[in-house]
Symmetry: C2
Subunit: 290 residues, 2 copies
């Protein structure tokens, strides 16, 4: 197994263990469990772990943060898929959560996952107490990433920008928040848990921000070039939306993703060999549309 | 102005200031502002402040916690009112948020409010740093109150218990979570910010738990005896639901609320005169159906 396959297996096992111990009542249990164990690439969790390990922490100390990032991501996917939002049928190769369990329980499960993720971030950070960063510092990062100037803001503008003319600034606003923000928070959490200094956290955040944007652009490309079977989710859902592909074409979008990955790599160029998985991750993101 | 009118005015002013400074993008701004400033009784915020002041803190140090509790409450009301849940038309004398702004933005605003409340609790607690309680302790209280064994669990069971026979245990499960849990968290936050010791926090929690249940029961009574105009929200929505009124009748429910308020008062009987507003609050809850 490669480094990332091994770490992904750790994250999956951790999520499965969480799922087995959720004290939710009957109606809520199945949707929460389904959301926790639905198969995913775990990019955000891998990012938290790879950053933390690159900066001297250990994978087992990074698992709670990684799981929390995946829970927040899963929570946001549930909302994205709702009839009132993207009205998606399929997600991760399975019926979207509201199709399997009803809208009400899907929404409640989404909020429950977000909520539990906060508890996990805060508790885990307090337990490990890296000298330079408090649990409130960690929380702040995540709250900003998710909040009304983060993922949620990106989703709101995405849903309500369909009528706007194609506009690079709006697109950058949407994607830096919908995808970039949580990448940045995941990487920052990993760095803070490894007790990194301020300037290292800053470099890591630049790496993650550019990687997140590149990831979203390759997602846009795959929405056009991939099949539902390959991707495990509805494709062609972006037809009425602003995307980088519409702005620059498939080749232009690929090129843009490549440039962002270069910027990502430049931000961590001075980091030692332990950061090689971060370089590998960036290349994986660049190459996923090839 | 009475003590509670004064404190309510402080909370309202604090929420209005927050609303004026939300950095959310266009589509999300109006629903978030509407939710922040929609008129409410602010019982949860008042509880946090009254408890904190009773234990020696100052109102201005308790405002962030109070506002956070009101934001979490507002967040949960938005979800409760959705078509997939109670499908309510009116809330706090105004159109329910999804009727005014659409379901998608209502859901996103709800999550944004919850998210910001967490940031507020964590940041405020870290800034004030009461000696006995960490920001992670405060977060833990709130996460448990909201989460998959808290408010969200209560709502899920409430929505899916319509077909069950009338059953006191189920009803107590629902209400202790849907209403009681956030009352307990609000009171615990106030006590922790006042640096109360463990046994005092415990007594305050018993007070709040019983008060929350009493409050919910009086809500059930008002759903039957009040008008939409008086209450500012849909009435008669409980027809298909388990309620204490169905179980015990209007008079029986009133009596039960009275008994819970007595238990509330007993839990804080040994507290000094500074706790008089807590006693007053309990009596106000008891008397709201009279």
């Amino acid at each position: 197994m490669t480094y990332f396959d091994q770490r992904r297996a750790l994250i999956d096992a951790h999520l499965a263990e969480l799922a087995a111990n959720v004290p939710a009542p009957g109606p809520l249990l199945a949707p929460i469990r389904d959301a926790l164990v639905s198969p995913g690439k775990r990019v955000r969790g891998l990012l938290a772990i790879a950053v933390g390990e690159a900066l001297g922490s250990r994978a087992d100390k990074l698992l709670d943060a990684a799981a929390a990032m995946e829970m927040i991501h899963a929570s946001s996917l549930i909302l994205d898929d709702l009839p009132a939002m993207d009205d998606a049928v399929m997600r991760r190769g399975r019926p979207a959560l509201h199709r399997a369990h009803g809208e009400d329980l899907a929404i409640l499960a989404s909020v429950a996952l977000l909520n539990h993720a906060y508890g996990l971030v805060s508790r885990n950070h307090a337990a490990l107490s890296p000298r330079r960063w408090s649990a409130a510092d960690a929380m702040q990062r995540v709250v900003e990433a998710v909040g009304w100037d983060g993922t949620i803001a990106g989703e709101a503008v995405d849903l309500h920008s369909e009528q706007s003319p194609l506009d690079f600034d709006t697109l950058e606003f949407i994607h830096s928040r919908k995808t970039g923000a949580l990448f940045v928070a995941a990487a920052a959490l990993g760095a803070m848990l490894a007790n990194a200094d301020v300037s290292t956290v800053r470099r890591i955040e630049i790496y993650a921000k550019n990687l997140g944007l590149a990831f979203q652009i390759t997602d846009d490309v795959l929405d056009v070039t991939g099949t539902a079977e390959q991707l495990g989710k509805d494709v062609g859902k972006d037809e009425e939306k602003l995307t980088f592909v519409k702005l620059a074409g498939v080749e232009g979008a690929r090129q843009l993703a490549g440039e962002l990955v270069e910027t990502s790599l430049a931000a961590i160029a001075s980091m030692r060999a332990a950061a090689d998985p971060l370089r590998e991750l960036a290349v994986m993101v660049r190459d996923r549309t090839r």
